[in-house]
């Protein structure tokens, strides 16, 4: 009851303008926040922003990419939001369109490549964490076949699969990654079936780029290992879960809002990685031996210091054609548009 009165009071004050206006931050999500997956990870970041002094946040979930996104973002801008995060690739053009109409509002778009004077883009170098999880998987496999349940063939996912394969090959040159596309982000039944199909094909570690933990369950039921994604999925498959590649948006989001409040924010391209803590790996399961842990830890430090850019030559593609010459590393633009598989990945790109 008391909360409701406070709310009414707050509304009255707000509508009469007597309230000192908070810094308002809006988030647009592509899926429901409850999915324990991609949007959930962003929403954890939002909660960290909400806890900041003088800041209020809100979000809209399940916003289709396209016309609806444009309307939602415009609504936020019109309602006086100061900073708007649109967290899915498909929001890029709508965000840009709205950003041009509201030059005073700060826009940040996740996973795209376009910017404007008041629109930044950002993403996390998830492939760094993927590489490390690949190392663990490569060390633990006995059949040398790793299964990867993947959502859609877009660069972000392809990059992750490639990094995973490179990591696995760093520990085990014979490791091969089998890919199954589900064309869903969150459909536990289909994803579990996909994981089982990989297990039947002889894979003995299952990794995933899906939001549901169903592939983890499948691995545990067969008594083999699994690698999670998004957040620590150990609770879904304690006996199978080796580690997971996890998001942690809080440091980035709070820093952006802090800069905006201080007036130092710039519309840049932010691509934070392991060094800033935006991506990480979850704690190892008890079955991961000490020597593997040590190697992964060493690689993690090297990545954090920038000594190992992951995609460094020589790298050949599926057909064996050299894509990255020895000693060269892929540029950020090349990484963002990656649409080929490295050698050792078995699967189509459609």
């Amino acid at each position: 009851m008391r909360a409701r009165w406070m709310m009414v009071l707050a509304m009255l004050l707000w509508t009469t303008g007597a309230w000192a206006k908070d810094f308002q931050v809006g988030f647009v999500y592509v899926s429901p926040v409850g999915d324990a997956g991609y949007s959930y990870a962003h929403d954890q970041g939002r909660k960290a922003v909400e806890a900041m002094e003088g800041v209020t946040t809100s979000f809209v979930e399940s916003v289709p990419e396209g016309q609806d996104a444009e309307r939602v973002i415009t609504t936020m801008a019109r309602k006086g939001y100061d900073m708007i995060f649109s967290t899915s690739f498909g929001y890029m053009d709508p965000t840009l369109k709205v950003a041009k109409q509201f030059p005073d509002v700060k826009f940040l778009h996740c996973s795209g490549y376009k910017t404007a004077p008041n629109m930044a883009n950002y993403f996390g170098r998830m492939y760094q964490a993927r590489y490390l999880t690949g190392m663990v998987a490569g060390a633990m496999t006995k059949s040398n076949l790793l299964g990867y349940v993947a959502a859609f063939p877009i660069p972000e996912v392809i990059r992750g699969i490639n990094a995973f394969a490179l990591g696995a090959q760093a520990m085990n040159p014979k490791a091969e990654v089998r890919v199954v596309w589900t064309k869903t982000w969150y459909d536990p039944a289909r994803e579990k079936e996909a994981a089982k199909s990989l297990l039947d094909a002889g894979c003995d570690v299952i990794a995933q780029h899906q939001d549901s933990p169903a592939p983890q369950e499948a691995a545990q039921e067969r008594g083999v290992y699994s690698v999670g994604y998004n957040s620590d999925m150990a609770k879904f498959a304690p006996k199978a879960h080796l580690t997971a590649a996890v998001w942690n948006w809080a440091p980035f989001y709070t820093e952006m809002v802090r800069q905006a409040q201080a007036g130092t924010w710039k519309a840049d391209s932010y691509w934070w990685g392991m060094d800033k803590g935006v991506v990480d790996i979850a704690p190892f399961g008890p079955m991961v031996p000490e020597e593997v842990r040590a190697k992964v830890q060493a690689a993690k430090e090297a990545i954090g210091k920038g000594e190992n850019p992951v995609f460094v030559g020589p790298i050949a593609d599926q057909k064996g054609v050299e894509r990255v010459p020895a000693g060269k590393a892929l540029s950020d633009a090349e990484l963002l548009s990656m649409n080929w598989f490295v050698r050792g990945v078995v699967g189509t790109l459609e």
Partner: protein, 354 residues
């Protein structure tokens, strides 16, 4: 004292359906409000936002119209077949194929043809593609007696996968950084906005199609035959009306209308084809068609109303963090209540005569 149900000699006139519609809306909102307060959210304020925000500004009203356009066209299409008790629930897939057809033309001739040739060509391609997609269901229904409800529904899933196959494969824009979307359309392939507004010319197209269709249904022989087929297939056959042919016609015409909606969405709203074009207009259209009692004029009103609900729902999410599924639930409740209410327009309960 006992009561019995008796059929009315004449169903209640138009005001009966109006009352039923309003009653259904009231019940649906009441259920929605109850669920909101069940989740600890302020119900009255929620309803205020849901109904108030879509009409709160010119800008929001424009949005309602924009969203109502595809709903209107799809609902006209499915409504046409509902008149004949042919249950086409495949507007979603036909919409996808329409978008695919229009995109095919835009990508092939976008750079070479002027807008006045290109846009009609895109519209025709969309209608043909949507129509052919519905033709599959029509052919199976006419030749095999296959239930068109299931076939059109399965074609929805397949149609969306066709669209995905194209944008993930052959049609993927090489400059899109590998993301699943076609290249941006050439300016000639974009439906322009009405001067001074954000509403595109599709709204004029809707008016023309709506007027034309209600004229055909009301005043032409075709309309008469469809009406007979719908009310009494046996009588239609007796009167030598080609029932099977009309089944095919309403299905294909419905597909063409949904395809047209797909064209407008891809050309006016997005300017390129991408999977996110599919947002369930085809399913909402079923609700629109039935709520409007299958009258073309009412279809426009109901399409606007449901579009407004969707716009209001976003504000509701933003202000009260209500899950997105709230809208679907309200729509379903409304539809069910209109069905229940339809009872009163056709029957009455009277005291049993001793």
């Amino acid at each position: 004292m006992a009561f019995v149900v008796r059929k009315r000699r004449e169903p209640l006139p138009w005001w009966g359906s109006c009352l039923v519609f309003l009653g259904a809306v009231a019940v649906a909102l009441a259920v929605g409000g109850a669920l909101l307060s069940f989740q600890g959210k302020p119900a009255w304020r929620g309803m205020g936002i849901l109904l108030g925000s879509p009409v709160g500004s010119v800008w929001a009203l424009e949005d309602c119209v924009l969203k109502a356009i595809p709903l209107f066209l799809c609902a006209l299409g499915v409504g046409l077949s509902f008149r004949m008790a042919v249950w086409n629930i495949g507007a979603e897939g036909q919409f996808a194929l329409g978008a695919v057809g229009a995109t095919g033309v835009a990508l092939t001739w976008g750079a070479t043809l002027p807008a006045w040739v290109l846009l009609p060509l895109m519209a025709i391609a969309a209608m043909v593609a949507g129509g052919l997609w519905a033709m599959i269901a029509a052919a199976l229904r006419v030749w095999c007696g296959a239930n068109e409800t299931i076939v059109t529904l399965m074609l929805n899933y397949i149609g969306i996968l066709v669209l995905e196959f194209l944008v993930f494969g052959p049609w993927k824009d090489p400059a899109s950084f590998g993301f699943p979307m076609t290249a941006e359309f050439a300016p000639a392939a974009l439906v322009p906005a009405l001067p001074g507004t954000r509403i595109h010319w599709g709204v004029v197209l809707c008016l023309v199609v709506g007027v034309l269709l209600s004229w055909v249904l009301r005043a032409s022989r075709a309309g008469f035959e469809i009406a007979v087929c719908g009310q009494n297939p046996a009588a239609a056959r007796y009167a030598r009306i080609p029932y099977a042919a009309w089944v095919a016609v309403v299905l294909v015409a419905g597909g063409a209308l949904a395809g047209l909606a797909g064209f407008l969405e891809v050309s006016a709203a997005l300017g390129r084809l991408q999977p996110s074009i599919m947002t369930g207009y085809g399913y909402t259209a079923i609700v629109v068609a039935w709520l409007s009692g299958l009258r073309s004029g009412s279809v426009a009103v109901v399409a606007l109303f449901l579009a407004a609900l969707r716009v209001g729902l976003e504000s509701l999410q933003l202000d009260l963090q209500v899950p997105a599924a709230f809208g679907t639930m309200v729509e379903g409740t409304m539809l069910l209540m209109v069905l229940v209410g339809g009872f009163w327009t056709r029957y009455q309960i009277v005291r049993r005569q001793a």
